[in-house]
């Protein structure tokens, strides 16, 4: 019926990554891997009550996050984008604080970070990205320099009605949005084949006239390049792009989950494919872009970093109860103020 929509070829999306950049990507992935596995340990040690590991999704997250221009783009994460956050240089204590149950959404400044608050509603922020992106159009950003919104969501989230509404709105309004799906094979216990009819979220894009890219989500360079061309397409005013990064959730859904109930270790081994970190390492070695000393140093840096973040998290006290009341509105209401007063009297006995 319609011809398959394709990405506009844009000049500035072609330059190959430098060796420096490739090493930087590895360093980021190593930091993310170590922080992620450590956070699971923190949970076991009682430092944080819960965590949603992104083990296995480092390439998808770092590769895409690395393509963001933090002077003008904006990212809309779910609850599992620690790797994107790290790649974008977020304050990671602020990021991790949500998992310590300090503050829903995290304690970093989303405006300065260009990274929206952590979102616990599956598909909850996909439409926000469309609105933000349409705002760039309305603000009259010159073509070629538009800020781009990138919204992350999972194979499971793709079933939500909001995703459909978002893709349709974005396409009708030609909004500069990158829909970045991490298809990690699972939505808690439900595998993609019983979730995503037709087998691919990217395949949905054509129905809206949106170009799409299905990419090996375990290949960090492939992910980066796909994201970079999607950004270029959007920035040039050509409307939205859908990227589906095929990857695998190697860990449990969260530290509360027991994957043994719905998949065997053998299935995990077979389905997970190559470890994105190890695979990238082998490539860097094979192409002589990095040597063992580099990897050892990356690991050392990752450990140092984790140490600092862990200490920050351990030191993080609970927020003052008054914030419950003070942060609801920009202009507080008398009714809420009197509740705050009653709370102070009864709970703090003042």
């Amino acid at each position: 019926m319609t011809t398959e929509p394709v990405l506009a070829a844009v000049d500035d999306d072609a330059a190959p990554l430098t060796h420096h950049q490739l090493r930087e990507l590895y360093t980021l992935m190593a930091a993310v891997r170590h922080l992620d596995t450590s956070a699971v340990a923190w949970q076991r040690q009682g430092i944080i009550p819960a965590y949603a590991p992104e083990l296995g999704q480092e390439a998808a997250q770092v590769g895409s996050g690395y393509a963001v221009d933090r002077t003008r783009d904006f990212v809309f994460p779910t609850y599992r984008e620690m790797g994107v956050a790290r790649a974008m240089g977020l304050d990671m204590v602020g990021y991790m604080s949500t998992h310590k149950a300090t503050w829903h959404g995290g304690m970093y400044n989303p405006l300065e970070s260009r990274f929206a608050p952590i979102q616990a509603v599956v598909a909850g922020s996909v439409l926000h990205a469309v609105g933000w992106a349409h705002g760039q159009t309305l603000a009259g950003q010159p073509t070629g320099e538009m800020g781009v919104a990138m919204t992350y969501f999972g194979d499971g989230a793709s079933s939500q009605g909001d995703v459909h509404e978002a893709m349709n709105f974005a396409a009708v309004m030609k909004a500069p949005v990158v829909f970045f799906i991490q298809n990690n094979g699972w939505a808690i216990s439900v595998p993609t084949e019983r979730q995503v009819a037709g087998g691919s979220v990217a395949a949905r894009a054509a129905g809206y006239g949106i170009p799409s890219l299905q990419v090996d989500g375990n290949d960090v360079v492939a992910v980066f390049e796909a994201t970079r061309s999607a950004f270029a397409h959007c920035r040039a005013g050509n409307g939205p792009v859908v990227i589906e990064a095929m990857t695998y959730r190697r860990g449990p859904h969260s530290t509360a989950d027991d994957p043994g109930r719905y998949r065997t270790l053998n299935e995990e081994r077979l389905d997970a494919g190559e470890d994105p970190l190890e695979r990238f390492k082998q490539r860097l070695l094979a192409e002589a872009i990095a040597d063992e000393a580099f990897f050892a140093e990356a690991q050392r840096l990752a450990e140092e970093e984790e140490e600092t973040i862990r200490r920050g998290i351990e030191d993080l006290g609970p927020r003052p109860g008054a914030e419950m009341f003070g942060l609801v509105f920009q202009e507080p209401t008398p009714a809420l103020q009197s509740q705050a007063t009653a709370w102070r009297e009864e709970s703090e006995h003042v």
Partner: protein, 358 residues
Amino acid sequence: MSETITAMPGTTDVSAASVHQMSMQQALNRALDEVLADNPKTVIFGEDCGRLGGVFRITDGLQAKHGEDRVFDTPLAESGILGMSVGLAMAGFHPIPEVQFDGFAYPAINQIVCQIARMNYRSRGTLPMPITLRVPSFGGIRAPEHHGESLEALFAHVPGLKVVSPSNPHDAYHLLKYAATRPDPVIFMEPKSRYWQKGPVNLSSAATEVSANDDGTAPSGSLTGARVAREGRHVTLVAWGAMVSRCLQVAELAAEDGIDIEVLDLRWLKPIDAEALARSVGKTRRAVVVHEAPLTSGLGAEVAQLITQSCFATLKAPVERVTGFDVPYPSGDLEDEYIPNIDRILFGIQRVLEYRRG
């Protein structure tokens, strides 16, 4: 049907020159026009808001005047409209979305409750949501199913939202201008059965000024609080939206029997002006709350409980509620049986007047 607009405290310009007769539809349209002109970040959108000017013509002519970037039609998806509003607000815009009818706010409730109402909180104040959601509300026009709903109890229960409903053109004009310039989300419930009623509107900008008290709370009678629509001594009728004019009618009828009714137009449904309730019922010692929404867990319960808390010692009778029934809003033929009518309100008044302890 004549409605008295009580003079607003703090209103300096009462010259006849700034007072115009207009319908609520005209008043709302004018308010939006001015808000668009005043703030280039304001955008209006929804289903049929643009070219058509809305099925109730509230946005009539605004697209032609302010351009397609400022006033535009969206695809037919309420969650999309409200979710998009969040993103626009994050990008620094001031969205004034419309849902076409009350009943079609339900598909957007997830975005309203979990996103619009919480983003300022979640982001620790860094991402305010200056969104004014216009909802043509309540019944009374013999419309199809889902076109006559009263969602105020739901909205008022949601932390992070403010909720307001004007009952007359003057308030509609000023409350909409006020809401649309606030940094917090406001649900603006328009009584659709009143769209075409005319009334005086004082367009003077002084009439919108809200001089807060020292403690940050609003002075009574100002736009941020309730309004005494009619003074009286024997019973207070509390109402909002389309029920205000009905209560005023009832008051006229009751006056013939020597019963002097005070009518309090609540206006703000969240936060509720508890002081105005206490003041009025402190005087009359009897109160009846009137609303179209079903009885159980309706906003009438909250109003009644606020009154009981502040006036318990002097209250002569338990607060009565005259409301819609716990049934789905019925079809036009049964509408008058469902919406509180004059008889039922009079019976409610009778109950609080005749109540005897024990």
